[in-house]
Structure formats: structure tokens, C-alpha cells
């Protein structure tokens, strides 16, 4: 018993150092963790890249990627030089990206801890899911908030179909709005369907690759971060 107590002094709650615990081992507020999920090809990695460029001068940032082919997304981010290499970690998912962010989050938690240890203290960690289906969501044990990214090219019926990603994500991004006229998509209808599915939860219609396209997303992240740092530990 004595031993247990002593070790808890050294490594308080290290074993459950998941999103449920909002402090670092030393008692300071740990980095906010935001997950980005969504189907393949909707622009998750582009959103991460744009967010890094928008926020890297004001925040200490890091990224965990969960690509199907382990290092592809991490290497894209490195090529784009959005962050120094030591701030990007890739997690292998054994061909099951949703398992790594929802059912068995241990490898992702380890990556998050390692980033805090190696380049911390961090303000914000973005955890990018591998492209998956509409039901893939992040465990609350891994992230504090999640963004779901869909695009207009996937069809304007996606918001109506719903699914946990569309209905419950803290922010829904409908990306590539510039393509709407080319693919015959009714943006207003998508907005109505999203509203019906999500109630008051926010939706951003944008093209993250355009100038300023990521600004509303970055604003949302800043607001989450402000709430995170001021709320009691």
C-alpha cells in the first residue's frame, strides 16, 4: 500500500492519462486534443495542414496521423513543411483506422504522451484519423473535441443520412464548396439537412485550400482552446 502511494506521487494517474484526465503529471493543464475524422479524400489532411499554418505562430502544436498506409499522411505534412518533423507522429492502425481512434486508443495515447514528453509543453494536439466511413468517431478517452470533415463531391445527401460523425461531431466541415456547381450539389439543402441532424452544433462550409478558407475552423479551434485553458483543471 505504501508503495502504491509513493508511486502515485511520482506518476500520478499515468496509466489513465487519457482525455478523461485534463492535467499533466505535474498538475499543469495538458494540451487540448482535437480529433479530425471523416471519409477518405474529403480533405482531413489538407485541413490539418491549413490549421498548422494558421496557428503555428501563436500556439505550440503537434499532430498525430492515423493513416491506413502508416506514414503517408505524416509524410505529406512533412513535405508541406507545416511543422517540424519532431512534431508529427504516425500511428499504425493494422488496416482498421476506426479501431485505433475508438476501440483501442492505446497507440494514439502513447503518441500523444510522447509528443508532450519530447516537444512539450504543447497547447494543441491534432489527431487525424485515417479515412473511414460515416460511423467512425473518436473515443472521449482520446480527444477533447472532434471535427468531422465531409465534402460536397461525396454527394449532398451525406448530411441527411447522418451517422455519428455528422450528427455528433463538435464541428462539421463541409469542404470543397467550390466544386458545388460542378457536381450539381445544393449547398442550401445540405445546410438545412445538417441543421436538422445537428441542432445547434456548428457547421462550416468552406474550401480549406483557398486563401482564408481555414479561417472559420481556426477561429473555432481558438475558441475551444480559450475555453479549455480558462476552465478549472
Amino acid at each position: 500500500m505504501h508503495l502504491d502511494h509513493e508511486l502515485d506521487e511520482i506518476f500520478p494517474h499515468r496509466h489513465s492519462y487519457s482525455a478523461a484526465v485534463s492535467t499533466r503529471p505535474d498538475g499543469t493543464r495538458r494540451a487540448l486534443r482535437i480529433g479530425l475524422g471523416g471519409p477518405v479524400g474529403t480533405g482531413k489532411t489538407a485541413t490539418v495542414a491549413a490549421l498548422c499554418r494558421a496557428l503555428r505562430d501563436e500556439l505550440s502544436l503537434a499532430v498525430v496521423t492515423n493513416d491506413i498506409y502508416t506514414r503517408e499522411d505524416a509524410e505529406f505534412l512533412l513535405r508541406e513543411a507545416v511543422l517540424p518533423g519532431e512534431r508529427i507522429k504516425a500511428v499504425e492502425t493494422g488496416a482498421c483506422p476506426h479501431t485505433a481512434i475508438r476501440d483501442d486508443i492505446s497507440a494514439n495515447l502513447e503518441a500523444v504522451e510522447d509528443l508532450e514528453d519530447e516537444v512539450g509543453p504543447l497547447d494543441l494536439i491534432l489527431v487525424e484519423s485515417g479515412g473511414d466511413n460515416l460511423t467512425a468517431t473518436f473515443s472521449k478517452g482520446l480527444v477533447d473535441a472532434q471535427i468531422f470533415v465531409i465534402d460536397v463531391a461525396g454527394g449532398d445527401d451525406i448530411p441527411r443520412k447522418g451517422g455519428p460523425g455528422v450528427t455528433t461531431a463538435d464541428l462539421l466541415i463541409v469542404n470543397k464548396t467550390d466544386l458545388a456547381p460542378h457536381v450539381g450539389v445544393d449547398l442550401e439543402g445540405m445546410a438545412r439537412d445538417a441543421k436538422a441532424q445537428r441542432g445547434e452544433l456548428p457547421v462550416v462550409f468552406t474550401n480549406v485550400k483557398s486563401d482564408g478558407g481555414v479561417t472559420p475552423v481556426a477561429e473555432w479551434v481558438r475558441a475551444r482552446l480559450a475555453g479549455w485553458t480558462t476552465s478549472a483543471a
Binding site: I10, F11, T70, R71, A95, E110
Partner: protein, 224 residues
């Protein structure tokens, strides 16, 4: 004694990171050594009687109260390539997190503090089994079964192998598992008094060689 805890520990859904590791199966599939249920069974039988036996012995020894730090060194001496040592430690760290949530104990806490980057997974598994009130034989079963269920699950994903065939492979290995777990448990029980030479040290050269090949791939689905 609490036998039901074994089902929690050995459950494929126990969140300890195993889903991202193929146990060498991804490399064996790429090399054309696993192509169907029969070749999966041969691979699993070979892995079981080498890496699986070593893992089961380590887990049983840890569950029998053997010094986990000494066993961690014993595991290093039986793992001659860095890729497999790194995978074992990553999985050990992940198992530690899940085990401490499930069965908090002073021994798990002490091992986590001494090896913050992870001890070899079978050692953590053995200490976890002990914390859960399980026996060295239970720990040997969990380690040995996981040693073959991991590759079988991975091959279902890699080859789109019929999952019923993969499950039948595991069922056919049950007799081998029974004998091996008993041997490993007997060896593990001797470790605390007799030392490392009583523990199995079976090696599989191709698993070592292909683990380092796999680690050098630029693109892969599984971590090991």
C-alpha cells in the same frame, strides 16, 4: 483465484494495442509464405512453438512472482533484433495502461515506474495476470493464444481470408496451446528459484529476419 479475469485479459478487444500488430504475418504474406488457411496454420504453429513459447514462459514466470525487471532482461536476451524488441516494448507499454485501469496494483505501478517506455509485453502480461488474481498457467495461456490470434486476425484483413477459416485454424491449434501453456507454466514456476536458464528460449530465424525487413518498409499496414 478469479478465472473469469482471464477472459477479460485474453479478449481480443482488450485495448492493449494488439490490433495494429500482425506478429510477422504481414511480412509473411508479402513474401508469399502465407497464402491461405493451410499456410496460415503452418505459420501460426511455427510461431507458437518459438516466439509463443518464449512469451508464455516469460508471462508465467512474471505471474509466478518472478522479478519483472530481471525478466525484462531475460526477454531482451531472447529477442535478438531491435524491431521485435521495440514492438514488444510498445505493446508492453500499451498493455500496462489497460492493465492498470483494469487491475490497479502496486506491482504494476512499480514496473510502470521502472520502465516508463514499456517493459516487454509478456512480462507486463504476467504481472497483470498476477494483479488480476490469475495463475501462471492462465498467463501462459493468454500469452500463447495472443501469439497466434494476432497473426490470424491480421491475415483475415490482409488476404481477405474467410474469417471462419481463420477461426478454424485457431481451433486446430488448441491441442498445441494446451501442451505449450502447461510446459511454459512449469518453467515459469521454476524461474523465481532457479533463474533464467529454465525459461524457454526458442528462436525462429525467419521471424527475426523478416521483422527487420518489415520495419524498413516505407509503407505498411501493421506496426510489426
Amino acid at each position: 483465484m478469479n478465472r473469469a479475469a482471464l477472459m477479460v485479459l485474453a479478449d481480443g478487444r482488450f485495448p492493449a494495442g494488439g490490433h495494429a500488430h500482425s506478429g510477422g504475418a504481414e511480412a509473411a504474406v508479402a513474401a508469399g509464405r502465407i497464402t491461405d488457411a493451410a499456410s496460415l496454420e503452418a505459420f501460426c504453429r511455427g510461431r507458437l512453438h518459438t516466439a509463443g513459447l518464449v512469451a508464455a514462459g516469460l508471462a508465467a514466470a512474471a505471474a509466478a512472482g518472478g522479478d519483472p525487471l530481471a525478466l525484462d532482461d531475460v526477454a531482451d536476451a531472447r529477442t535478438p533484433v531491435p524491431a521485435l524488441r521495440a514492438a514488444a516494448r510498445r505493446l508492453g507499454r500499451q498493455m500496462m495502461r489497460a492493465a492498470r485501469a483494469a487491475w490497479p496494483s502496486a506491482e504494476l505501478a512499480a514496473l510502470a515506474a521502472a520502465r516508463p517506455r514499456g517493459a516487454h509485453q509478456p512480462v507486463v502480461l504476467g504481472v497483470a495476470a498476477r494483479a488480476a488474481g490469475l495463475t501462471p498457467l492462465d498467463a501462459a495461456y493468454a500469452a500463447a493464444y495472443e501469439n497466434v490470434s494476432g497473426p490470424a486476425t491480421a491475415v483475415v484483413r490482409l488476404l481477405s481470408l474467410d474469417p471462419f477459416d481463420a477461426t478454424a485454424v485457431l481451433a486446430r491449434l488448441a491441442g498445441d496451446l494446451d501442451r505449450l501453456a502447461a510446459d511454459a507454466a512449469a518453467a515459469g514456476a521454476r524461474f523465481p528459484t532457479e533463474g533464467p536458464h529454465v525459461l524457454p528460449a526458442a528462436s525462429a530465424p525467419l521471424l527475426d529476419i523478416t521483422a527487420e525487413q518489415h520495419a524498413a518498409w516505407p509503407v505498411r499496414l501493421f506496426a510489426s
